[in-house]
Symmetry: C2
Subunit: 376 residues, 2 copies
């Protein structure tokens, strides 16, 4: 993987860049649609490619490990071959999903023991076997196994958790550096900064992570229930420390506003289930604000879903028709909502990129942040 | 509406034809995907048009009347404007849906009183107001209001029911002929032959329906639980009587085999929820037979979904991946299954048409009927 830092905004830490992988180029800042079990929910791959113009998607190691299972993915020749997506894929490490199982997992020095949400079967993830799993999945970008502490973790818990994540990182790097890619193309490995909502821990963690000089770095443990201000504050601390010449990935973030604010703080990569999950439930993000498509007010609004939208769904369907589909619980409603929101997220980061290039990112961002929060 | 009878197979009653409506041409024999509430479940309209190559779709009067309701459809300027489908639309009369409500409806001379399956509210459908409703929906082809007797109805019940349907037809025709289309394009009105599983009643009903000389005629009350042999027998009786120079529509039929056998009996038009409903549940129809995609046997079959299929889904996705999506209950599974099955149904009738033209329809049909029933 190569990263070329292109333009840095003189008024903020926002920057544009170009990541080159064996599956193609990613222009940053970028949003990565989430393909939990190897499918972006409700979206055909041709639309993901040609309509949404996704450059990279995310797969969840925890989910893929359980279903279809590593034997099937390996037999297929990796996830790209299995799902037919030939652009880059990033996989998380499963740390966040295991953390979310709360009652059904136990964190030990060796790793995390958890029970499957599907059949209750018992499994162990370690920093080493999570590397092996991602080798089999064949992600272009793999993530270190981390413990993701809760947003309101007290300092002593957060510190212990961060230290465990650091020890796990060392083990993960050793495993990664002593193994090889399985399918003839390169894979890279990103470490993850933790430290919950504490500046001292975030500083310590960012310095530790930076010291490895990996090809890219991630910020984890944010957008897990803490106030947005804390998220921005922690992100600012961390991006001030992580190397400028490596891409920075803020995991699991977020709303359109979160993304723009974090771009201003120097983040290059994002992922979140929000566009698809909210889209399936009738919440559409647009450049003019947020629409709840189940709302009575759209019932006879025969204007296009989003006249300024980039997706075919924005122009083919009307608000009244889409509302009717949501009220009638039609499958097509979820499909339109997901496609629209993903196309909007991809438009938003592309637009951010072109405003950084044009030198007017901050005024544009400030204006957009106002518009994006309006309830239409 | 115009119908041009093109080629009639010398070995059977199969024929090709061309229906011309103000929304475009339909080449028969044809299958009409069902768009219950104005959406073909799980399928975007651009795929319906360009991938499936649907020439006409069906809407359900009962469902559209309840949701979004006639006020919204009228404000939109009709169903075509509301859902953005600019090719022909046929609407049923609601007779079949009301009949299916069993406990929640009462058939009287005036019409049928029923309770909504959504909120229990009380409604009355009459032969006249069902015409008015379809005028508002703006279907290119409207259907008469009929009583659809059960497949195992005794002779006296079937006779009374047929006679009621005939009286309702007279009232529907009077209403249709004394009203006008609302949106500047023509609408036509098909009467429906009833008579359950009795040759004498089917003969009587077909003669009565034929006597009106409408632009097209339908056969109702079949594929409602009776054996396939009875369905074919009744269809044969009726197509022997209905005028040759008018299209014949066999309502709610059926499996791929049912469709081929009925084409041989002189039917031109079909609709059925089977391709979408079964597709959503993992049953795929192909030219080599039927696949249950949830079956264990596909778990490591990395060949395309259907190498001979005409849809993009047949070639982009593999059987193993599609099985994984069904097992994981992913939305995309239902989308792929629906698209595949509809594309297959449309391919099947197109292929039937070209074999009628080529003069080898019966040998081709006999071979296909064998293949189509194979469990893969």
């Amino acid at each position: 993987m190569e990263f070329e830092l292109q333009i840095t905004d003189p008024q903020s830490r926002a920057r544009t860049g170009k990541i080159t992988t064996d599956h193609g180029v990613i222009e940053t800042p970028i949003f990565m649609p989430v393909g939990t079990v190897g499918s972006v929910k409700g979206v055909h791959f041709n639309d993901l490619r040609n309509d949404i113009e996704a450059q990279i998607i995310l797969g969840n190691t925890y989910h893929l490990y359980l279903r279809p299972g590593l034997d099937i993915i390996e037999k297929a020749g990796g996830l790209h071959k299995f799902n037919g997506w030939d652009r880059p894929i990033l996989t998380d490490s499963g740390g966040y999903q295991v953390f979310s199982l709360s009652a059904n997992r136990k964190i030990k020095e060796d790793g995390a023991v958890f029970r499957s949400h599907i059949d209750g079967s018992k499994h162990l993830f370690t920093p080493e076997n999570v590397v092996d799993t991602q080798r089999i999945i064949g992600a272009d970008i793999m993530m270190a196994f981390d413990e993701c502490a809760p947003g309101d973790a007290p300092h002593d818990y957060a510190k212990k958790s961060m230290e465990l994540t650091h020890r796990w990182l060392q083990r993960g790097i050793t495993q990664f550096d002593s193994t090889r890619a399985k399918y003839g193309y390169s894979q890279t490995f990103f470490p993850i900064v933790q430290g919950a909502g504490f500046k001292d821990l975030r500083t310590q963690s960012a310095e530790y992570i930076a010291s490895f000089g990996r090809e890219g770095n991630a910020i984890g443990g944010l957008s897990v229930g803490e106030p947005a201000e804390v998220m921005y504050e922690m992100t600012e601390v961390v991006t001030g420390i992580l190397p400028k010449d490596k891409p920075r990935y803020l995991m699991g973030v977020g709303t359109p506003v979160n993304i723009l604010e974090s771009i201003a703080l120097g983040v290059d990569m994002f992922d979140c289930v929000m566009p698809t999950r909210n889209g399936r439930n009738g919440m559409l993000f647009t450049s003019r604000g947020i629409m709840n498509m189940k709302n009575q007010k759209w019932k006879d609004d025969f204007s296009p879903v989003d006249p300024e939208g980039t997706s075919f769904v924005d122009h083919h369907y009307t608000k009244a028709y889409l509302r009717h589909l949501f009220v009638s619980k039609e499958l097509l409603a979820a499909q339109i909502g997901s496609l629209h929101n993903l196309a909007f997220y991809l438009w938003l980061v592309k637009e951010a990129r072109s405003h950084i290039q044009a030198g007017d990112f901050i005024p544009w961002k400030n204006q957009m942040v106002k518009q994006l929060s309006v309830r239409l």
